[in-house]
C-alpha cells in the first residue's frame, strides 16, 4: 500500500504521457485523476496508520549506489512528517486534477498537461518519502524539472519560455547549494541516510572543517548549504525572483506548484533537517532573518501588483517567509502546521483566481475587473473565504497557524528567553500581517466589489464556472474553514506526540506553553492589524479615500509606489549586476577571449599561423642571390663555431624544449599583433 502511493502517480504519468494519443482527452483525464485520487485515499490511510496510530513505516527496496563507503539504497520512510506532506500533496493535486479537466477543456494538449501534473506529483512524493538525501535530491530535481515543463506548458509563448528557464535556473542555484550540503554531509558522516546523519549529528558538534583558509564548524556549513537549497526552492529573499514570473503557466499549475507543493519543498527540507539545524544556532539566526525579510518584502510588494495571480504569488512568497521564520525560531511543528493550512487556502485562492480568469475570457488584470460578485457568487464566496483565511480571520484555518506564528515571535519580547532575533522577526511579521490583509482585501474589492471596468463583450458572456471547477473550490473552501481547527490539537496541541521523532525541537527555545500566557492585548494585535489592513483597503478602493488624488499623485507616494510595483528593482538589480555581467563574461571573456582567443592562439590556430608567418619570413631571406647565400652559409658556420665551446654550459641552463616553446609563444603573440 505504501509503495502504491509512490507508484500510482508514476503509472499515471507514464500511461497518460506515453499513451495519451490512444487514451484521448477524456481517457487521460479520467485515468490520471483516478490515479491521483486513489493515491490520496491511500495516503489518508497512511496518515491514519503512521500519524494517528503512531507506527512509522520504513521500506527499503534495493541498493541503488554502492561504492566503497557510499551506500545509497532505494528506501522510503513514512513518518508523521512525510504522511502529513503526502496528505497535502495528494489532496491538492487531486483537486487540481479535477479542476483542470474543465479548465483545460479547450486546450489541444490535454494529455500532456495531465501527464506533467502527474509527474510533478510523483516527484514531490518521491521527495517527501525519501529516506536518504540523494533520493530526496532526485525528487528535488524532478520537481524543478516538472515545474519547468508545467510553466512552459504553452511553449509557443515567449514569456512562458523565459519564465520557465528563469524558474529552472534560479532553482538550480539553490540546488547547487543543496548538493554541496549533501557532499559535506557525506564527508562528515560517511553516509547520506537520514537515520545515520540525524542520530549521529550531535557527535560532531565541535567538528571543524578547514576551508578557504579558515576553520568553519562543519555542521554550520552543512546547514548553510541546506538553507541555500531551501532558499532557492521556497523563494526566499535573494532567490525569490522566479516565483512571481512562474505565473506564466496555466492557473492550475500555479495552484499546484506555487501554492501547495513545490515551494513547500524548501520548508520541508528545513523541517526534515531539524536535528541538524538545531545544532547550528547561527543558521537558525540566519533562517529567521531570511524568513522575516521575505515575509515583509513580499507583502509590501504584493500591495502594488495589479495582476491577480501575481498578488497571490507574492502572498505565497510572504507566507513562505512566515513558515521559514518560525522554523528559524525552532518551532518546526508550527511551520509545518502553517504549511498544511497555507496549502489549503492558497490552492483555494489560486483556483478561485483561475475561475475568475476563466469566466472573464483570460483577463488577468485586476484593474479591468470589478463587481463580479453578482456574476460569480460561488467564486466570490470561496475567494472571500480564502482571503479571510489568509489574513488570519479568527477561527478560519489561517488564524490557527498564522496567529500562532506571530505570538511565537511576540514571546521573545515578553518572556525571559532572550531571543534577540525574535524581536526583528516580530516587527516584520506584524507589519506583514497588515499588508497581507491589505492586499487580500484589495484583491477582493477590485475584483468583486468595485464598479466594473470590464468591457461589455466580456460582461455579456460572463458566467459562473462549470461544476467541475466549482467542486474543488467548495471542497477547498470547507478545508480552509475547518482544517486549522480540526488539526490544531494534533499538530501543535499541548503535549501532542503526533510528530514523534520526525521533528526535533530545540528544548531551550521550544516553549509553546509560554505562548498561551502572553497578555490578551498582544494576542489581539494581529487581528487588529489585519482588520486595519482590510479597512484601509476598503477606504482606498471604495470608501472616501477613493478619490484622494492629492495623496495618490503626491510625488513621494508616486515614487514609492513605482518602486514597489517594480518589485523594489530586485529583478533590475539582478539583471544589471549579475545576469548581464555573467552573460558578458560568458560571451566576451570566456568564449571570445579565452576559448576562441587565448587557447586558440596558443593552440592549433595560433601555431599554424605562426608557422606560416615564420616560414613566410624565412622564405623572404632566400633572395636568389648567390652572394646572399654564401653570406648566410659562412655567417652561420661562424656563429655555430662560436657557440660550440659554450654549448655544454648552456645546455644546463636552458631546456631546449622550453626555448622552442617560448619562442613559438612569443612569435604567436608578435605575429598576432603585426598582422
Amino acid at each position: 500500500m505504501y509503495l502504491l502511493i509512490i507508484l500510482l502517480p508514476l503509472i499515471g504519468t507514464l500511461i497518460t504521457g506515453l499513451g495519451g494519443r490512444w487514451l484521448g482527452r477524456k481517457g487521460s483525464n479520467l485515468f490520471s485523476t483516478a490515479c491521483v485520487i486513489m493515491c490520496f485515499f491511500l495516503s489518508l490511510f497512511a496518515f491514519f496508520e503512521v500519524g494517528l496510530c503512531g507506527v512509522p513505516c520504513y521500506i527499503t527496496i534495493s541498493s541503488w549506489i554502492s561504492s566503497g563507503a557510499l551506500n545509497i539504497s532505494w528506501g522510503f520512510l513514512f513518518d508523521s512528517l512525510t504522511t502529513t506532506m503526502l496528505i497535502v500533496i495528494t489532496s491538492i493535486s487531486s483537486l487540481v486534477h479535477v479542476y483542470s479537466i474543465k479548465y483545460m477543456e479547450y486546450d489541444p494538449h490535454c494529455p500532456r498537461f495531465m501527464a506533467f501534473l502527474e509527474i510533478f506529483t510523483f516527484f514531490m512524493i518521491l521527495l517527501v518519502t525519501a529516506d536518504n538525501f540523494v533520493q530526496m535530491f532526485l525528487g528535488w530535481e524532478g520537481v524543478g524539472l516538472a515545474s519547468y515543463l508545467l510553466i512552459n506548458f504553452w511553449y509557443t509563448r515567449l514569456c512562458a519560455n523565459q519564465a520557465a528557464i528563469k524558474a529552472l535556473i534560479v532553482n538550480r542555484v539553490g540546488d547547487f547549494g543543496l548538493s554541496l550540503g549533501i557532499f559535506t554531509i557525506f564527508y562528515l558522516f560517511g553516509s547520506v541516510d537520514y537515520e545515520v546523519v540525524f542520530s549521529s549529528a550531535s557527535v560532531y558538534l565541535n567538528h571543524t572543517i578547514y576551508i578557504f583558509g579558515i576553520y568553519i564548524n562543519t555542521l554550520t556549513l552543512i546547514c548553510v548549504f541546506l538553507l541555500i537549497g531551501a532558499v532557492g526552492k521556497s523563494a526566499q529573499l535573494g532567490l525569490h525572483t522566479w516565483l512571481p514570473d512562474a505565473m506564466e503557466g496555466p492557473t492550475p499549475v500555479s495552484a499546484l506548484i506555487h501554492a501547495a507543493t513545490m515551494v513547500t519543498a524548501g520548508v520541508f527540507l528545513i523541517i526534515r533537517c531539524s536535528p541538524l539545524i538545531n545544532l547550528a544556532p547561527n543558521v537558525l539566526f540566519l533562517i529567521t532573518i531570511l524568513g522575516s525579510s521575505t515575509a515583509f518584502f513580499a507583502s509590501i510588494v504584493g500591495v502594488f501588483q495589479n495582476d491577480i495571480k501575481r498578488v497571490i504569488a507574492y502572498s505565497t512568497c510572504s507566507q513562505l517567509g512566515y513558515m521559514i521564520l518560525v522554523c528559524g525560531l525552532s518551532y518546526y511543528n508550527v511551520g509545518m502546521f502553517h504549511l498544511v493550512n497555507h496549502a489549503f487556502f492558497k490552492a483555494l485562492l489560486f483556483l478561485s483566481a483561475g475561475s475568475v480568469i476563466h469566466s472573464l475570457s483570460n483577463e488577468q488584470d485586476m484593474r479591468r475587473m470589478g463587481s463580479l460578485m453578482y456574476n460569480l457568487p460561488v467564486t466570490y464566496s470561496s475567494m472571500l473565504i480564502g482571503s479571510l483565511s489568509l489574513a488570519g480571520f479568527p477561527f478560519l484555518t489561517g488564524f490557527y497557524s498564522k496567529d500562532l506564528i506571530i505570538e511565537i515571535t511576540q514571546i521573545s519580547y515578553y518572556s525571559n528567553l532572550q531571543i534577540t532575533i525574535g524581536i526583528f522577526a516580530c516587527w516584520l511579521a506584524n507589519i506583514s500581517v497588515f499588508f497581507t490583509a491589505f492586499y487580500s482585501f484589495r484583491l477582493i474589492f477590485m475584483t468583486f466589489i468595485k464598479n466594473s471596468n470590464s468591457s461589455r463583450n466580456h460582461m455579456n458572456i460572463i458566467h459562473e464556472s462549470p461544476k467541475l471547477i466549482l467542486i474543488p473550490l467548495i471542497i477547498l473552501a470547507i478545508a480552509s474553514i475547518f482544517a486549522g481547527f480540526l488539526t490544531k490539537d494534533l499538530f501543535v496541541g499541548a503535549g501532542s506526540d503526533f510528530w514523534g521523532n520526525s521533528i526535533n525541537m530545540l528544548p531551550i527555545t521550544y516553549n509553546l506553553s509560554e505562548v498561551e500566557f502572553i497578555s490578551t492585548s498582544i494576542k489581539w494585535l494581529p487581528f487588529i492589524l489585519s482588520t486595519l489592513g482590510a479597512v484601509f483597503a476598503y477606504l482606498i478602493n471604495i470608501g472616501f479615500l477613493k478619490n484622494n488624488i492629492k495623496f495618490a499623485y503626491s510625488s513621494k507616494f508616486k515614487k514609492l509606489a513605482f518602486a514597489l510595483s517594480k518589485k523594489l528593482y530586485w529583478d533590475k538589480l539582478y539583471n544589471s549586476l549579475i545576469v548581464s555581467f555573467l552573460m558578458h563574461f560568458g560571451l566576451n571573456i570566456s568564449f571570445k577571449n579565452i576559448d576562441r582567443g587565448f587557447i586558440e592562439l596558443l593552440g592549433p590556430y595560433g601555431i599554424s599561423r605562426t608557422l606560416y608567418n615564420f616560414s613566410f619570413n624565412i622564405i623572404k631571406i632566400q633572395t636568389g642571390q648567390i652572394t646572399h647565400y654564401t653570406f648566410f652559409v659562412i655567417t652561420g658556420l661562424c656563429l655555430l663555431l662560436l657557440f660550440v665551446p659554450f654549448w655544454t654550459f648552456l645546455e644546463r641552463l636552458v631546456d631546449i624544449r622550453l626555448v622552442i616553446f617560448s619562442f613559438f609563444a612569443l612569435f604567436a603573440v608578435w605575429s598576432d599583433k603585426t598582422s
Binding site: I619, Q622, T627
Partner: protein
C-alpha cells in the same frame, strides 16, 4: 724569417680574400671562380706549410690532390659558365635570381 705563424696568417688572409671575393662581388661569375681558385690555393698552401712544419708527407699528398680537384672543378665550372652564357648571354650575378624562395 718565415715562421709558422706568418704562414698561417698569409694563408688565412688569402682565404678570407677569396671568401669576401665570393660574396662581395655582384657582377661576374668569373670572379667567383677566381676567388674559389684562390681559396683552393690558400688551402693548398696551408697543407704544404703544415706538412713542412709537422714533417709529414700526407699534407703534400693532399695538396697534390687538391690541385687536381681544383683543376677539374674549375674546368667544370667554366664549362657551366659557358653553357649559362650561351643561354642567358650574360654572366652578371645580380640577375641570377631564378632560385628565389
Amino acid at each position: 724569417m718565415i715562421t709558422q705563424l706568418y704562414c698561417e696568417n698569409y694563408t688565412f688572409f688569402l682565404f678570407m680574400i677569396g671568401v669576401l671575393g665570393i660574396f662581395l662581388n655582384q657582377k661576374s661569375i668569373i670572379i667567383i671562380i677566381m676567388s674559389l681558385e684562390m681559396m683552393f690555393l690558400s688551402v693548398s698552401f696551408n697543407f704544404i706549410f703544415f706538412s713542412v712544419y709537422l714533417d709529414n708527407i700526407v699534407g703534400q699528398l693532399f695538396a697534390l690532390a687538391i690541385l687536381t680537384v681544383a683543376a677539374s672543378e674549375s674546368s667544370i665550372g667554366l664549362a657551366i659558365l659557358v653553357i649559362y652564357y650561351r643561354i642567358r648571354s650574360t654572366i652578371t650575378i645580380e640577375l641570377m635570381t631564378l632560385t628565389k624562395g
